[in-house]
């Protein structure tokens, strides 16, 4: 069964349905132990990046927002665009775990766990940015609607407050979704854990014993939260887009922003899934679970979403063009021809042209090419967010606004540091929690095997009278499992 021949690029099955259940447990549990050198190197890099971010934040706290080279027309810059970027990343987990769960696409099962973890951690990363971009960071909690004796509330009309509500809700829900989906796996961990992990998993698995009652309630809970999460994910990113769309600025006040942002979010999330997929498959030797056919499906999904995004992007341009509002049109032209045009065309290339490479089967089945392609897709998506924020602010209604600025070092440090923070969280996650859903891979294997065997059995008995593989396998599984 551990024969790796069929795990090559020519593999056609999503998963080998003869894989022993016990080996699923051992493979995944093994990935959670004994971090190797590569892990510590990655951790060290992440911690370094994050320390730079902390240094930059302390510096900015001491000297003021001017350290980021912001100015009177560029009040927002990389902080907000990176915030949007990370919020976007978080949508992939919801897509894979909730939407594909509802449509019964079972190939999501081996890969949804890390995507869902990615959702949670990118939200935690995204949540940093609105806070650090505040001029008076220490008063950030004033946006929360808590009761004070001063009779003062936040301004519920502000899209920033909507953001705060939406992100809080989304973070809570996605953490719970991740956690609830993990409870049966935490029970597996509990049964195999030693040392400090034992009390942790015992506590976290909430006394899960695999009772039929627990499973039944589990199924409904998972389904309900999935139903809650899908509209939530859509609303979160449309609310983020309203930070721009609800404003009066030419270039931001665009009606198509909400769907455009949602598509962009799914897009960058899918690209990030491909990156992490390849990394996890490579480092944790998850070839049996994170297989090429699944990667193939994710790539196709990415391509489809990339095309939706491209379409909405072009729609935005077209609506600005035909709307013939002069300032908006000038912003659009300046994006394509002005000082930021290299980045604009970079975004168009990486975002709209590069995905066409996913049409090639060679690319879809070549991990090395795909790895870099997915990185560049995400670079394109990051540029998209930057191109929304900065070129728009470099123009505007009033000539006083016309100016070009380049981000200061603190901004770059925070952008880099956010990757370090995300990396840190993710690295801790993969060693503490199972990043492949064991019980769901078992379900996937079980159902596929049953479907195949029942069909084949039926055919064999019908045509030749020889007992089919199901009958043969019965003796095998009882002994070999």
């Amino acid at each position: 069964m551990s024969d790796r021949k069929h795990l090559t690029r020519e593999q056609t099955k999503d998963i080998d349905e003869n894989i022993a259940w016990a080996s699923i447990n051992t493979d995944v549990l093994r990935s959670m132990e004994n971090p190797r050198r590569g892990y510590w190197v990655a951790m060290a890099v992440s911690v370094c990046l994050f320390s730079v971010m902390i240094y930059a934040e302390v510096y900015q706290y001491m000297y003021g927002m001017g350290a980021a080279l912001l100015n009177t027309s560029h009040m927002w810059d990389l902080y907000i665009s990176t915030f949007v970027f990370w919020i976007g990343m978080s949508h992939s987990g919801t897509l894979l775990s909730a939407i594909l769960h509802l449509v019964h696409a079972d190939w999501r099962k081996p890969i949804y766990r890390f995507a869902e973890a990615m959702t949670t951690f990118s939200l935690m990363t995204a949540g940093i940015f609105p806070v650090i971009h505040l001029g008076r960071v220490w008063n950030f909690y004033w946006v929360m609607p808590y009761m004070t004796d001063r009779g003062i509330w936040p301004n519920f009309r502000s899209p920033l407050i909507w953001d705060a509500f939406a992100i809080t809700t989304y973070l809570t829900s996605s953490v719970l979704f991740l956690y609830i989906g993990m409870i049966p796996d935490l029970a597996i961990c509990r049964d195999n854990a030693k040392g400090w992990r034992k009390p942790l998993y015992t506590w976290l698995s909430l006394g899960w014993r695999g009772d039929d009652r627990q499973w039944r309630n589990f199924r409904f809970t998972y389904l309900m939260i999935a139903c809650f999460l899908i509209p939530l994910a859509v609303s979160v990113h449309s609310i983020v887009s309203m930070d721009f769309a609800m404003s009066i600025m030419p270039g931001w006040h665009v009606t198509t922003f909400p769907p455009y942002f949602v598509a962009g979010a799914l897009y960058s999330g899918c690209a990030a899934i491909i990156t992490l997929f390849i990394l996890l498959r490579y480092f944790f030797k998850f070839e049996h679970y994170m297989t090429f056919p699944i990667l193939d499906k994710v790539c196709k999904l990415t391509f489809v979403i990339a095309m939706v995004w491209t379409y909405l992007n072009l729609v935005e341009f077209a609506s600005v063009w035909y709307g013939h509002d002069i300032p908006s049109k000038e912003v659009l032209i300046a994006k394509a021809t002005g000082p930021y045009s290299p980045f604009f065309w970079g975004m168009m290339t990486f975002g709209s042209v590069l995905p066409f490479s996913l049409l090639s089967k060679w690319v879809r089945r070549n991990m090395y090419v795909l790895f870099f392609a997915s990185i560049f897709l995400n670079v394109g998506m990051w540029l998209e967010r930057w191109m929304i924020v900065t070129p728009t602010l470099s123009l505007g209604y009033h000539p006083q606004a016309f100016n070009v600025m380049w981000p200061g070092w603190t901004e770059w440090a925070m952008v880099g540091g956010s990757f370090g923070w995300f990396g840190m969280l993710f690295l801790i996650f993969v060693k503490v929690f199972p990043c492949v859903s064991m019980y769901e891979v078992k379900e996937m294997v079980f159902h596929r095997k049953r479907t195949i065997y029942e069909d084949v059995d039926e055919m064999m008995t019908l045509h030749s009278g020889v007992p089919g593989p199901k009958a043969q396998a019965q003796t095998q599984t009882s002994g070999g499992a």
Partner: protein, 184 residues
């Protein structure tokens, strides 16, 4: 629930049988359905399995769950509470006039009440899961780590009389291991 005509005999033991295959476990349950063990019905069976098994409803019969109710009422509470909370806050907020917008702004309140609906819906669903799934409670000691690997367990409480036919039924369907504990 027990019929008054029947004399209730005290159950003395709890038995756990582990099976390597779902079909075998289901045949045991089918046997219990066919009253091969006198006095035991399918309602007495608790199935412990490593995966969420869709056929479980067919085998064990429909058993109720309150999760959708929790989700619905949680969501509804969030929606109503969210809107009233926001409207109340706005109505009591001293600094009202802003940008030509009304005091209680429907568009923003709808957005925020929507988020609150989802937040409370999710939290209430979680509460329903913990209550309905009987999580976070002490359960019986009859548990085997093989259940989280690949074996399926059947837990039944029996009287002394039922014990013998049940073990026979278990053995007939290739039970791998049997555990039992006395009921106090």
């Amino acid at each position: 629930m027990a019929g008054s005509s029947k004399k209730i005999v005290a159950k003395t033991r709890r038995v756990l049988g582990l099976f390597g295959d779902f079909d075998q476990a289901f045949e045991v349950i089918a046997g219990i359905r066919r009253y091969q063990v006198p006095g035991l019905t399918v309602d007495d069976v608790t199935l412990k399995s490593p995966i969420e098994h869709p056929e479980i409803e067919d085998v064990l019969g429909e058993r109720p769950t309150d999760i959708p109710k929790f989700a619905f009422w949680g969501g509804l509470f969030g929606l109503v509470f969210g809107f009233l909370f926001l409207a109340g806050a706005q109505a009591n907020f001293l600094v009202q006039p802003q940008g030509g917008k009304p005091v209680i702004t429907i568009p923003s309140n709808v957005v925020l009440a929507y988020e609150m609906m989802i937040l409370f819906g999710v939290l209430s669903t979680l509460a329903g899961f913990i209550i309905g799934g009987r999580l976070m409670r002490k359960s019986s000691g009859l548990y085997d780590t093989a259940i989280t690997v690949d074996q399926i367990g059947i837990v039944i409480e029996v009287t002394d009389k039922q014990y013998q036919p049940l073990t026979e039924l278990f053995k007939k369907h290739n039970v791998i291991e049997m555990h039992e504990e006395a009921l106090s």
